[in-house]
Amino acid sequence: MFLKKAEIFLLPVVSVFAAMLVGAVLIFAVGENPLAVYWIFFKNSIFSLNGIGYTLFYATPLIFTGLSVAFGFRCGLFNIGAEGQLYIAAMAVTLTAISLDGWSAWVVIPVCLVVSFIAGGIWGGIPGLLKARFGGHEVINTIMMNMIAFSLVNYLVVGPFHRQGTQILETDFIPLAARIPRIHALIPIIPKTLPLNMGFVIALLACLVTYLVLWKTRWGYEIRAVGISNSVSRYAGINVNKNMVMAMFIAGGCAGMVAISEVMGYRYTFHDSFSSGVGFIGIAVALLGRNHPVGVILAALLFGALIRGSLFLDLNFDHLSKDLVMVLQGVIVLFVATDKLFKKLLGFIKLPQ
């Protein structure tokens, strides 16, 4: 539990490489050339300006969900519900934005930002409440909340709020006032096609805030304390239940903020099943990032690159689909969890104390 400095940085890297090896085996099994595949991955994600831009774009929601899961972990809670939380938040934001049609951006955007956080927060807070109040298993409960969220938004987007005259499962578009600018609005050299938007900046800010809250304030001190030991916290006069609910609420809120980059910054509408599992990839991001905001950013960038790269798999290989990312992240989570194994491996190398 007490890692050497070097290990903290080395272990994730090692486990990522190990995971890519496993992935390579799988790729080979389905009859493709691993090297070629990984080359495609990275050629399109980090070896071109455009690619990097897209990598950042795909990393944005992952930063949010990664933060969400990490925050939960810091309080000893496992938030698998990011996926559901972000759907609810996205829907909430869309509806608020639409209903605020005609107001000035100065009103709409702040309101939407807050709504995204609150909506996700509530969805995450419920399992937190159940945990605190009844000791209901937060993992199972967040999963159930996912299921419920999917049904709910599916109903809303199929039924009452479905955009007229289209087969696509989408709501109406949000008013211009509710849309946040793309990056190229700030930095002209960036191509207009790039969907990277202010959501990314907000994500970075969120990381900064999370860091400050967790490590610099009394609230963070308490949340982390609860995460380490309920009994000690109770002894120290910390309200464990309150902190649990708080943590889950904030975690949900972080997940909810995905709506900012996806709805307000990119699609401008609620598109059914717009998030291809970023809520779950968030778990891998958090664990790989050792539940630290900086780590989360780095891990999110990695997975952003993977997602970006994976989009080219279907085009270039007839035996591979983008689901490979899911496999990779699954393996990564597994390996991060079994860091004892890798510590053993690293044991052979002498590490600076």
């Binding site: 007490f2 304030t217 009394r218 001190y221 304390a225 380490i228 002894y235 120290a236 910390i238």
Partner: protein
């Protein structure tokens, strides 16, 4: 003929040398005591004999022949049985299930033959007069009986050599009596018994030979007939035992804490029955009693960790019953928990962070805006680390990496440094080295002379005797006796602890105490 012969056993953990070339010779059909302070390595060497650890050097002879014992199964096969200090029992399972675990009598297809096992167990239990019902779940047995189950476990595996690690630590004096009877019976039946303890009087009473150990070495081995408490004590500690701390007389001031008819029920078991007492400033009130007789609940109630059912807790004339733990702290009531790992500190937090735990939310450690004031935290921590000489003297090292004694010091430093008026201390010196013990005892006395009221809960009668001005004895949730420091004698307390109320009660009539005492 020697039952056990340990030659030059050496065992090293990480840095510490647990056993250094230790020889032990145990004669057949005798009771052999191994005594020593905590960390003298007496448990380690027995774990080696039982195959739990492997010796780095040295060899083991059983009944004259050299043996290699690589794991407990080996030990069992060689007729060695061990009763650990922390019982290796599975509470929700029945006595039978617990005993047969590992060599179950089974039919061809692996189906249990419980009846058959129960029969055998009942026979054994009668044979040695253990009076154990094989059908009952272990969790419903008293500690004393659980210990007998452990012994049965060994006998069931027909052990010829029985190792008992601190067997009397958990027993009340009368239980100890019965227990010794059992030991003698076992000896008479031809068993060889090795008993690890640090209680001299017991050694003198029960054993035939004594081996004394001190920090990893054997410092002597002699027949009990030649031993006296003093000789053994000196060998154990290596110097005159100074249990007498310099304890200036303090005139108690006005009452700080007054507890009236406290009742607490956990689940459906009453744990505290009409507990009443009061505590004056500058006074140390000891709470004696076998563990699990309500002390834990009492402390929890007083520190706001558990709600009381009826009764009131007056603190300086204010009713503080059922206040939250934080509110209680704000009344300058400090609390040193019995189980430091489970309650006392956060293992992966730094010393500094742990030293503000519970006070982290208020000045000077926290600013108005909710941000922590690290400058002041660090300086505060450095000061404490120096004052309580915590080693290593670092403020940013994770407390979990420190030794038990230093962990305890971190807790003590935190609790003692926020100007407490009332100090609630539970098992302050459990499992820590002598140096730390004496240091902490001194700290407690210093606070006492600063007119702080101290409530001291301890299972170590010796500790209570040497520190407290008054002692309450608890039995099954009741205060069954109250004894002044002058009148304190082990005998009386022992009887009280087990519910045998003395006729000549040593309590001053005017003082409150539970009705149980009057029955």
């Amino acid at each position: 003929m020697l039952a056990v012969r340990l030659k030059q056993i050496t065992k090293r953990f990480a840095q510490t040398l647990a056993n250094d070339a230790v020889d032990i010779n145990v004669r057949q059909e005798t009771i052999h005591a191994i005594i020593g302070e905590n960390g003298a390595g007496k448990s380690t060497i027995m774990e080696i004999l039982y195959g739990f650890y492997q010796a780095d050097a040295g060899e083991i002879e059983l009944f004259g022949e050299k043996k290699k014992i690589i794991n407990p199964q080996d030990a069992i096969r060689n007729g060695i049985g061990m009763v650990h200090q922390h019982f290796m029992l599975i509470p929700p399972m029945t006595v039978t299930e617990n005993i047969i675990l590992g060599l179950e009598p089974v039919s061809r297809s692996g189906v249990l033959h419980l009846a058959q096992a129960e029969e055998k167990i009942r026979k054994l239990s009668d044979e040695y007069g253990l009076q154990i019902d094989p059908r009952i779940e272990v969790e419903n047995l008293s500690v004393g009986l659980q210990q007998r189950v452990e012994i049965l476990k060994a006998l069931y595996r027909d052990a010829r050599i029985l190792i008992l690690d601190e067997p009397t630590a958990v027993l009340t004096p009368p239980e100890v009596g019965e227990f010794f009877q059992i030991l003698r019976r076992l000896k008479a039946q031809g068993k060889t018994i090795i008993i690890i303890t640090h209680k001299l009087e017991e050694v003198l009473e029960i054993s035939d030979d004594v081996t004394v150990m001190r920090n990893g070495r054997k410092v002597g081995e002699l027949p009990t007939s030649e031993a006296t408490a003093n000789i053994l004590a000196n060998m154990m500690v290596g110097r005159e035992v100074l249990f007498e701390l310099d304890k200036q007389p303090v005139v108690p001031g006005e009452t700080v804490l007054r507890v009236e008819n406290l009742c607490v029920t956990v689940g459906n078991k009453p744990r505290l029955k009409n507990v009443s007492f009061d505590l004056k400033e500058g006074e140390i009130l000891g709470i004696a009693g076998v563990e699990g007789n309500g002390q834990t609940e009492l402390v929890e109630v007083l520190t706001g960790l558990r709600r009381l059912d009826t009764g009131t807790v007056w603190y300086q004339g204010e009713d503080i019953s059922n206040l939250s733990a934080r509110k209680i702290r704000e009344h300058q009531i400090a609390h040193i928990p019995a189980d430091r790992k489970a309650h006392g500190f956060l293992s992966s937090y730094s010393n500094a962070e742990n030293q503000i735990l519970g006070f982290h939310y208020r000045a000077p450690f926290c600013r108005k805006n909710g941000f922590l004031n690290f400058a002041s935290i660090r300086s505060y921590a450095e000061e404490l680390v120096k004052k309580f000489d915590i080693r290593p003297p670092l403020t940013d090292i994770a407390t979990g990496t420190l030794s038990g004694g230093n962990q305890q010091k971190v807790i003590v430093s935190r609790e003692f440094s926020q100007h407490p008026r009332l100090l609630i201390i539970a098992q302050p010196t459990r499992g820590i080295d002598i140096g730390a013990i004496e240091f902490i005892h001194q700290q407690i006395l210093d606070l006492r002379s600063e007119k702080v009221a101290v409530l001291l809960v301890s299972a170590e009668l010796e500790e209570i005797r040497s520190l407290s001005d008054r002692t309450l004895v608890m039995f099954e949730g009741e205060v069954v006796g109250e004894i002044t420091a002058e009148a304190f004698d082990m005998e009386t307390v022992g009887m009280l602890m087990t519910g045998h109320i003395e006729t000549r009660s040593t309590r001053e009539p005017d003082l409150k105490s539970g009705p149980g005492a009057d029955s």
